[in-house]
Structure formats: C-alpha cells, structure tokens
C-alpha cells in the first residue's frame, strides 16, 4: 500500500516539500516536478534534508523539468532517480494512490 507524493513547489518558496516529507510514511515515493526540482540539486540549503529523507522514502525528479530550468542531471543529489514523463506514469501506476501537495 504505497503512495506517490508529488511536490511541485520550490522548497525556497513554499513549505509543501517539508509538509510532504513529514507526512510520507517509510517506503513512500516522492516525485519532484515543476519548481519542486530545485530541491533535488546539490549545493543548496536543503541538500542535507533531502539526503536524510532518502533513508526512509524514495525520491524521484522529473528530468524534463530539470532541463527546462537549466539544471544538468549531474547536479542531482546521489540517490535521487531522474525520470521522464513515461517514468512518472509508471510511478503513478505502481503506487496505489497519487497525492499532489499543491
């Protein structure tokens, strides 16, 4: 019984990522998309928080949204998986529910 959580806000703008990570149970999947992708990059104030989160949840980031913001995939924190829209669809299908943290 797993849930896919989607977060589309930058952690530097809104607290939805924090709220999501505080709520997501062990083994949950979290997909970062739109401005949410900023949380997946190295060298930011939330990098440690993301690395901690990887101990309990699986993190994914939408590749096309990284590219649209000029962020290279080699800037993604190790352990976070880059997926395309087909991968997003697979995640939605593999999990029982999709919860958008709008």
């Amino acid at each position: 019984m797993s849930t896919l959580h989607t977060v589309n806000k930058s952690p530097f703008e809104k607290s939805s990522l924090d709220a999501c990570l505080a709520h997501a149970g062990t083994g949950a999947n979290v997909l970062l998309l739109e401005d949410g992708v900023y949380a997946a990059t190295t060298g930011t104030a939330v990098e440690q928080r993301m690395k901690q989160a990887l101990d309990s949840v699986k993190l994914f980031v939408l590749g096309p949204d990284l590219m649209a913001r000029g962020l290279a995939e080699d800037r993604v924190i190790q352990g976070i998986t880059v997926v395309d829209y087909a991968g997003f669809v697979d995640l939605a299908a593999e999990n029982d529910k999709v919860q958008a943290w709008l």
């Binding site: 989607t6 589309n8 998309l33 739109e34 096309p64 949204d65 395309d84 829209y85 087909a86 997003f88 669809v89 697979d90 939605a92 299908a93 529910k97 999709v98 958008a100 709008l102």
Partner: protein
Amino acid sequence: MKFAIQINEGPYQHQASDSAYFFTKAALEKGHEIFRVFFYHDGVNNASRLTTPPQDDRNVVDRWAALAEQHDLDMVVCVAAAQRRGMVDEGEMQRNGKDATNIHPRFRISGLGQLVEAAIQSDRLVVFGD
C-alpha cells in the same frame, strides 16, 4: 490502467496544464486509458477556442483538442467555475442570456459529479495545479 486527470490552473500562467498534457500523452502512449480530463477552477480557461498565442509558442488549447481528437478523450469543464470565468457553450449562452460562446468543441461543460465519477471509476486520479 484507468487514469483520471484534474487540472486546476489556466494555460500560460502556470505549468500545471503543460505537465498534465505531457503526463496524459505519456500514459496514452503506454497503452493506459484516460477516463476523463477534468478542468476545474482557473483550469477552465484551457478550453477557450478563442485562444491565440504567438505562432512560435505552443497552443495549449489546440494541443489538448488534438490529443482528445486522436484518442477520443472526454474533456470536461466544471460548470460553476466556467460561469464565473465566462467560459460559455451554446446551452449556457441561452440559459444565461449571453450573446456568444467561446468553448472549444472538443470540451464540454458539466458538473462536479463528473469529477467524482471519474475518481470512482478510475484506478488513479492525478491532480495538477498550483
């Protein structure tokens, strides 16, 4: 698998409609079924056939309409949200005494019950918004 898609934001203002479009397209390419695409709140503005973006920009409305044409998608606009924002079809024009319509023919106006039904009938409801 059956998916229902909900879009809460209008075109060009927010990425939600673009994200939803690419998700829907990818799901269809993988052989999944899209039970319904429901446009809610400012999302109703995705249905205006009068939309005319510059030629070198994507046409969000036509793009949805083309995908709907190709895959026979049911694209529903929330009636209460549409009335507030001046999204009008023939029925609404007559009922509210308006002098024009502006909805693209690939979309239809209906009630929130259509969203509830989509959520019940589909395996997954995926929401895109602000």
